[in-house]
């Protein structure tokens, strides 16, 4: 079979693993988007910019305060989440009663402003960020860098933790109830607006967390988010808007499909996800894991 495909089993396993690693980023980012959309009904186009900010904060605290990568994993998401709270309180909050489109336009505007400011200040070629876990394991079929292994594990823990919190805990059930019927939930004495703000902050923090994880792999540059966010939106659409498990599974799955495309027909690797998106939209407009409302 492998000979038929013109590829050795070693190469195939290697590519599958790499697909999984890239899928980890798609999963974490689309998860944040799905949480924000599912619970707030806001299409957070600024997600990519917040991912980029996460990476930049990590670089910044390392460069100017000597905070290492592991510290940045906590500091950067918190810092960017605080920025998210301000954004939500001052701007996004005012759009909840309007159509999705307004939220999308507002957050898109912020992307342009944030990226422009960062580009003006730091230039477009990016900043260096050293790998905190150099070296790797020889798995026989490929060389697995330690850091990439860590990324997959960290991403799985964060994704499943988020899913568990929202679907299985009491706090999660409050959240879901609050989005179904905020007036009723408020009548039980729960501070719904604050919960919504914190949810947005959490989603933004997830983006920043992914950004910190990305810093040692990709360039830390102002456009790193917009290059990724379009793919992540496609992932969310394929998985089903607002479906948490859907976005996780689709994120990892599409990473693998993209990885395989890079072997069989690399020229198409930047388009394959959109082809799948078009097919899914034709057959199941609500997405693979979504339910039509």
């Amino acid at each position: 079979m492998f000979e038929l495909l013109g590829i050795s089993p070693q190469a195939l396993f290697g590519q599958l693993l790499i697909g999984l690693i890239n899928g980890a980023f798609y999963a974490m980012l689309s998860l944040g988007l799905a949480v924000i959309f599912g619970l707030l009904n806001v299409i957070n186009f600024a997600h990519g910019a917040q991912y980029m900010m996460g990476a930049f904060v990590a670089w910044f605290v390392l460069e100017y305060a000597g905070v290492p990568f592991w510290g940045a994993l906590i500091v950067a998401p918190v810092a960017v989440a605080i920025f998210g709270v301000i954004l939500e309180q001052v701007f996004i909050k005012r759009l909840y009663h309007l159509d999705h489109l307004y939220g999308l336009l507002l957050t898109f505007g912020f992307v342009l402003i944030i990226e422009g400011l960062f580009r003006y200040k730091f230039g477009s070629s990016g900043q260096p960020y050293d790998n905190p876990l150099p070296g790797g394991q020889n798995l026989g079929f490929m060389f697995l860098p330690n850091y990439r292994g860590f990324v997959v594990v960290a991403s799985l823990v964060v994704c499943l933790g988020t899913w568990f919190m929202i679907e299985k805990t009491k706090l999660g059930s409050y959240l879901r109830a609050a989005t179904e019927n905020p007036t009723l939930v408020r009548a039980f004495g729960i501070n719904v607006p604050r919960m919504v703000t914190l949810t947005y902050a959490f989603g933004v923090g997830l983006a920043a967390f992914a950004g910190v994880l990305a810093a040692p792999i990709y360039q830390v540059n102002p456009t790193m988010g917009s290059n990724l966010i379009i793919i992540v939106f496609a992932v969310v659409v394929i998985g089903g808007m607002g479906s948490i498990m859907g976005s996780i599974v689709t994120g990892f799955g599409l990473g693998v499909i993209e990885g395989l495309t890079k072997v069989f027909y690399p020229e198409a690797s930047s388009t394959v996800i959109f082809v799948i998106m078009a097919i899914v939209l034709l057959i199941r407009p609500a997405g693979l894991f979504g339910t039509a409302k």
Binding site: S8, R119, S124, S125, P134, F143, R148, P216
Partner: protein, 404 residues
Amino acid sequence: MQRMKQLMSAAAMVALLAAPAAAQVSDDVVKLGVMNDQSGLYADITGPGSVVAARMAVEDFGGKVLGKPIEVVFADHQNKPDIGVNVARQWIDTQQVDAMVDVPTSSVALAVQEVTRQKNRVFLMSGPASSDLTGKACSETGIHWTYDTYALANGTGKALVKQGGDTWFFLTSDYAFGHALERDTAKFVTDGGGKVLGVVRHPLNTADFSSFLLQAQASKAKVIGLANAGGDTINSIKQAAEFGVVAGGQRLAGLLVFINDVHALGLKTAQGLVVTSAFYWDLNDDTRAFAKRFMEKHKGMVPSMIQAGVYGEVMHYLKAVQAAGTDEAKAVAKKMKELPINDFMTKNGSIRQDGRVIRNMYLLQVKKPEESKAKYDYYKVLATIPGNEAFRPMAEGGCPLVKG
């Protein structure tokens, strides 16, 4: 007699029309249009810095030529040929732009070369790399100033083959530039007795190269040639280090690496890379003086060879306009080819019939972190490649302007 009179008046008319054209500036302004990537992956190596360099040249020239003011305008082509062509047409048709400047991204430059050929405008290329611009796509008014894919292959490619790198695998950016760089390098590899084991072509502006690097690793080639640029090169090198490519005994050949890329990578990751460049700020007093002035005007960012080239080509263009007494494109291009080039980065340079500027190139190596004494102290010079060896012989390019 009647006929004689007719002839005389016709001759007078011709003389009247021709005379002013010989010493005239169209629209009473000499306008330069700097078009490049203002915000994307090539923005640091071209972008606003090229505009700064063009303005510095205009300022140094005195702001006026043939008594008329010189103006610099700029636009973002977003690395898309259709946008580039639209901007070029608009500039020429409605804004009286006399010369296009910089225009990185070979696919865009090839398209703009056609527009300037049709509309008779000078095209001063510093950013684009494809050697086809002075080969089969050459133009009478197109001047390829700073470097090209042949010179890069000739420097880095040949040096690595000589050091025993006789099997290659290419990671190629999938558009005109990458294809040209791969082709020109592959020629040096096979001419030197080496072999190309494989090629993978990735889309422009790719974030993740791990999959491609894995294929390159599996090929067991001694050298992995990076026929890409800007952010793509940075990500390739960064991730190659992560995947233990160099530790595994393979060598990376960054075929087009700019000093800004080295800065973004950090010396720890970039050390040891062999790079071909037309310019390095720390070569001599002249280059240091230019870099100092440039950095004062451009947020402390070091000039890339492209930005340095923009200064040189604008200066030379203005000198040629002055000497030709007109801004008519063919006359200026002809004069540019007659005048010798002498500035901080080019000594006794010349422009060939096909538009190729001939100057020395430098084979540089990125320093180890402990060798670097100051910010941007990144390279040591391995060799100077004389201009007559650095570029493709004119007869081999296939430029239709070159006959016999």
